[in-house]
Subunit: 400 residues, 2 copies
């Protein structure tokens, strides 16, 4: 099927779009009660819903449970099946590490090998953060690979982001992590001839790490998987002609926003701080991504009431956002995180769009069951972006 | 994505489908009132809606404002992203000029150049029709290009359709219209080697036009843009096995219908005349496209009440159409033209389908908000065609 290059229709307009994302917003009703959003008291969101259009959105496809990467790409109008963020790129984004063209990133696990070199624990006993940091410091001091920078950034526990930086690298190398115990780490192999040197570098790194950590009780090796390169995503500026800013607190979302070309504003402490940043930078940008994390974390913890509370906290911030005078406001989530499941899920996510030219449907409340019959329909998340651009007067007519 | 070749499933049936198009039907509700269709009194359309299925259709894609060409191609079941009607082809269609294979058509503007040859007015002061016609007559008498016919057809004001007819032409030539004043017309350049001769012809035409119009005060040049060739679209007969007729009053829609292989019936004076033509030719065809223009023209004029009136006029014609005994009736629009915007828009367009086997949903009234939850769903306009064919018993089972 042919698809339309939206950038050919982009026109400039002095209008502002605000996308408010409640992470993991979606949920589902049971015999006992509605979804978190249906049960929450959300007078301000209900007002936007009743004055605007509503619908349900699917981030990747029917039945597909999205990770945060694809969930957000969809929100920014990028088809998550076309544009992929690898584990390395997302790890880097989550650590505020900016991958550069040519970099190769991998997810590392500090691990325990026995005296025969077989893996006995792929997570080095889930080594505490401080111990892991000390081990990583030792590696930083000792690792030395000719002509290359090796960045090592500890994540939680045994997890370490590894970035190789230098000329001539190629991420198409097989994992050294055997994903099993009782066997030795795997030998890195190039998947293509161009990756031969990178495979040699990874083998050299593996050897140096084992030598440097030989006396460590727990963490005496580093298993690598998911080699990934910097992926150049087309920017939102290129695709939509907007000047976008991100108002997000958590590193991963700040990172993803940066990958699509947003300017990431300084970290705010809370929702009030995020709204204050919108206000401060209102004139400098015309597209704002506001990310609210706590709906998802409560859902992930299986805490229905806390997720309701996180939704209500966001609801309370809506009037201040509307007061700024946006032309179009979109409120939705990057995926569902039903607290019954304590995990991401495939359920469609409620969405509302509000603005002078959006039009209104019969929906009076913001919630899964009410949005199902709304004017936005049930559609891929990525389709919200062109509709928002259109409602902001930013897309010209197609065809004569 | 694989797509299904509908023609492999086509079967014959003694059934008739009527597609009633209210041009620019879609609109949107505001705080003050509903859309034009929601506010209109449409007892007959409401009856069809309540006895049949309803939905909303998007002609090109979410957020995309369609021109009349893509809007109608979608109605006839052609993906507007796959089949394109260029400006030249549409202009020709709108003037009842039939492009032949090999023809190259362009949109021309009579324009004013100063003594240095720079454009001072791209529209020759929006020269009145009669003056423009006199200028075009002068060109018809004078232009002489070896081996070629040059058709010049005045449209409104400064607009002139130019058709080059002869052997060896190729439309892949750059515009001579600089789309700016204070600069000279552009030199036509071939975009591909095959278009070299055509570029030379266009340059020669430009020179002859300037010489012939040298003494004109306003219109002393012709700026050309959008070179386009005859595009052979597969016919509705080939694709669907139907024998289609168009009952349209306005030239552009008659032209588009002809491009998809419809027989275009003689021009009627009004809706009653259109219905009379349906009746007269009922036995000769099995697919009828009835086009009602006035909803769009009222919308384009920003006249809410007149658009309501145009909808009500169409509503009044419905019983006579139903009396003919069609098996399937589809009523929808080619795009939205909200009178608030006085322009085409991206808003989804209400659609209803009526017939013995269509099935009925809970929708009792024809209007955006009521159609949003209907059985037809919210879907691309082009999908209405296969559903209508199926409901008319014209599509066989797929697969064993």
């Amino acid at each position: 099927m042919p698809s339309l290059d939206l950038s050919t229709l982009v026109q400039q307009a002095d209008t502002r779009i605000v996308l408010v994302v409640m992470d993991g917003l979606g949920g589902y009703a049971t015999a006992e009660r509605g979804s978190e959003l249906e049960e929450a008291s959300t007078p301000n969101l209900d007002r936007l819903a009743s004055e605007g259009s509503t619908g349900l959105v699917e981030p990747v496809g029917p039945g597909i449970t999205p990770g945060s990467g694809p969930g957000h790409l969809g929100l920014f109008g990028y088809d998550p099946l076309e544009y992929e963020l690898g584990r390395g790129a997302l790890s880097a984004a989550g650590l505020d590490v900016e991958l550069k063209p040519g970099d190769v990133a991998a997810r590392g696990n500090l691990a325990t090998l026995d005296k025969d070199g077989n893996v006995t624990d792929r997570r080095a006993g889930r080594i505490p953060d401080e111990e892991a940091a000390a081990v990583v410091d030792k590696l930083r001091d000792g690792v030395d690979i000719d002509g290359l920078d090796v960045l090592l950034v500890p994540e939680a526990q045994h997890r370490v982001l590894v970035v190789l930086r230098g000329d001539g690298l190629d991420a198409r190398v097989t994992d050294t992590d055997p994903q099993a115990t009782g066997v030795p780490p795997l030998s890195p192999e190039p998947k293509v001839p161009d990756a031969k040197r990178t495979a040699e570098v990874v083998a050299e790194l593996d050897g140096q790490v084992r030598a440097l950590l030989a006396n460590e009780a727990k963490a005496n090796a580093l298993l690598l998987r998911g080699f990934d390169s910097h992926r150049e995503l087309p920017s939102m500026q290129q695709r939509y002609g907007v000047k976008p800013a991100a108002v997000a607190i958590y590193p991963m979302y700040r990172g993803i926003a940066r990958l699509v070309g947003m300017e990431v504003l300084a970290k705010a402490a809370d929702l009030d701080g995020q709204v204050a940043q919108l206000r401060e930078h209102w004139e400098r940008f015309d597209y704002f991504f506001v990310h609210h994390k706590y709906t998802d974390s409560a859902g992930e913890d299986g805490d229905f009431d806390r997720k309701v509370g996180a939704i209500e906290a966001l609801d309370a911030a809506i009037p201040a956002i509307v007061d700024l005078g946006p032309d179009v406001v979109v409120v939705t989530g990057d995926h569902a995180t039903p607290s019954q499941m304590a995990a991401h899920s495939w359920h469609p996510v409620p969405a509302l769009m509000w603005g002078d030219r959006v039009g209104r449907d019969g929906t009076e409340r913001f919630g899964e069951r009410w949005c199902a019959g709304g004017l936005l329909g049930i559609r891929p998340t990525k389709d919200l972006m062109p509709v928002a651009l259109a409602a902001a007067g930013r897309l010209a007519k197609y065809g004569a």
